[in-house]
């Protein structure tokens, strides 16, 4: 029963249950992806293939282009050159509405906790106080529903941002270091919610610096360095036997230049 409530509350795709789901967005294919800003090549001819299922973790040193890659994949910024296709087709606005993103610093509306969820439900013409309360109950924020969202703790704010993204019932969810500044308990709760979403069939593409988090969550790991994917391997393989010098240095805690 609890599982049934959770599925409804955090974005179980009702369309899929009715057998009328549109084709899933995966696989994703990026070819020759480049992004140049003020003459500086920040993403440098990147090739990447992602399939559905397991959580994809994007790792790499600061400045490797991880967050930019997420924004390119989500269509928030346009590449200078190269192509990205989802299920064989370029990203359209309709396809983008089946994606969602959680940012490192949650951007919450200057409204109550409940109103932040209501906003996205109304966007999808699915405003329903009962559904909203289910969502808040699931993430443990029902008691704070009427509180201003910006007065929540950092962990609560990030949970709310995550719940808001999942309320959109996305096929693909991008997470840009969502636990970077959170305490262990908040990180654990975020990871639980993320794993539940993955179990329901949402594809998660997750940027992290945290090797422990990658061990706990990742199915495959994309390792980036200087705007390129230098290694893309199953998580176990990358974490135990990285195939590149940069990967080995990163996992050993050495500075990767």
């Amino acid at each position: 029963m609890l599982e049934a409530v959770n599925r409804t509350a955090l974005g179980a795709d009702a369309r899929a249950a009715e057998g009328s789901a549109p084709p899933h967005l995966m696989p994703m294919r990026a070819r020759g992806l480049a992004l140049e800003v003020k003459g500086k090549r920040l993403i440098d001819g990147l090739d990447l293939d992602l399939s559905g299922g397991a959580i994809t973790m994007i790792m790499g040193p600061n400045g490797a282009g991880k967050s930019l890659l997420l924004r390119l994949l989500h269509g928030l910024i346009a590449p200078t050159s190269g192509s990205i296709t989802w299920s064989g087709a370029p990203l359209t606005e309709a396809m983008r509405r089946r994606q969602a993103m959680v940012f490192q610093r949650p951007v919450l509306l200057r409204r109550s906790v409940a109103a932040n969820i209501d906003f996205v439900l109304r966007l999808r013409r699915a405003a329903d106080p009962a559904k909203r309360d289910q969502i808040l109950d699931h993430i443990g924020l029902l008691a704070q529903a009427k509180q201003p969202a910006r007065l929540l703790s950092g962990g609560e704010q990030q949970r709310l941002a995550l719940a808001r993204a999942l309320a959109l019932e996305p096929d693909v969810l991008f997470l840009d270091e969502p636990t970077a500044s959170l305490d262990p308990a908040s990180t654990l709760r975020i990871e639980e919610i993320v794993q539940e979403a993955q179990a329901r069939g949402t594809k998660l593409v997750f940027v992290t610096h945290d090797v422990g988090q990658a061990k706990r969550l990742a199915g495959d790991i994309v390792f980036m360095h200087r705007g390129r994917v230098v290694e893309h391997a199953p998580a176990k393989q990358f974490l135990e036997q990285p195939g590149t010098e940069q990967g080995r240095d990163f996992l050993a805690g050495r500075i990767v230049l």
Partner: protein
């Protein structure tokens, strides 16, 4: 001072008309200026820089020039003469609206653009339509926009040049506090002019204090 506390009916009439004209002008200017400010804050279009310069420049519109233009529009020979609005409170509301709409549009544009910069990436991620984004910005910035409206009201209620041209300072019809002060000063009744001035200041301070209190409450609850 005696006049201030006496409750003189003529004085109350002048105060009432001042508030009615200036509050009406503020409301009309908000209805026009806020959407303009929001659109310019959110949209990117060719010539936007020129529009910003124009909006900011119009904040300094000379009241007597606005008064003269409205006078020419509303006079019998003007294009709107048939409406017979000259020397009525409506003409004064129109003049004040023209004066403060650019102020409200320009200041709200800045407030809304700052908030939009904060929301923009999240809104793009959520595929929020432009009209929904504008509505959300106006709602979420409502306490800051109150200050903007207040700035407009302050300019309107203190304005004399335009309203004296289009209103005519007619007793019991278009006489407001500023025009009454001007009249009493010219007649040499400085005590009455000073009393009116004190009242005008008191009204401005009361309204400002109320809005500041509201904003402080909003800030405490992280809505501003």
């Amino acid at each position: 001072m005696q006049l201030v506390v006496s409750g003189d009916p003529d004085l109350l009439e002048i105060i009432g008309l001042s508030l009615r004209v200036s509050l009406s002008a503020m409301l009309i200017s908000c209805l026009v200026g806020l959407p303009i400010g929001a659109l310019v804050a959110v949209l990117r279009f060719p010539g936007r820089g020129a529009v910003l310069v124009l909006m900011n420049s119009l904040m300094g519109l000379p009241p007597v020039v606005v008064g003269l233009l409205i006078y020419l529009m509303l006079s019998n020979a003007g294009p709107l003469g048939v409406l017979q609005l000259l020397y009525t409170p409506t003409a004064m509301i129109i003049a004040q609206s023209v004066l403060i709409t650019p102020i409200i549009a320009a200041l709200s544009r800045q407030v809304l653009e700052d908030l939009h910069n904060e929301y923009a990436e999240q809104f793009r991620s959520l595929s929020v339509p432009t009209h929904t984004a504008i509505g959300a910005l106006l709602w979420d910035a409502r306490f800051s926009l109150l200050t903007v409206a207040l700035a407009g009201f302050g300019r309107a209620v203190a304005e004399v040049g335009a309203v004296i041209i289009v209103g005519g300072n007619i007793a019991h019809l278009t006489r407001v506090m500023t025009t009454a002060i001007a009249l009493e000063t010219s007649k040499g009744d400085l005590a009455l002019a000073m009393a009116l001035g004190i009242l005008l200041l008191a009204i401005a301070i009361t309204i400002n204090a109320s809005v500041m209190g509201l904003r402080a409450t909003a800030a405490r609850y992280a809505y501003a």
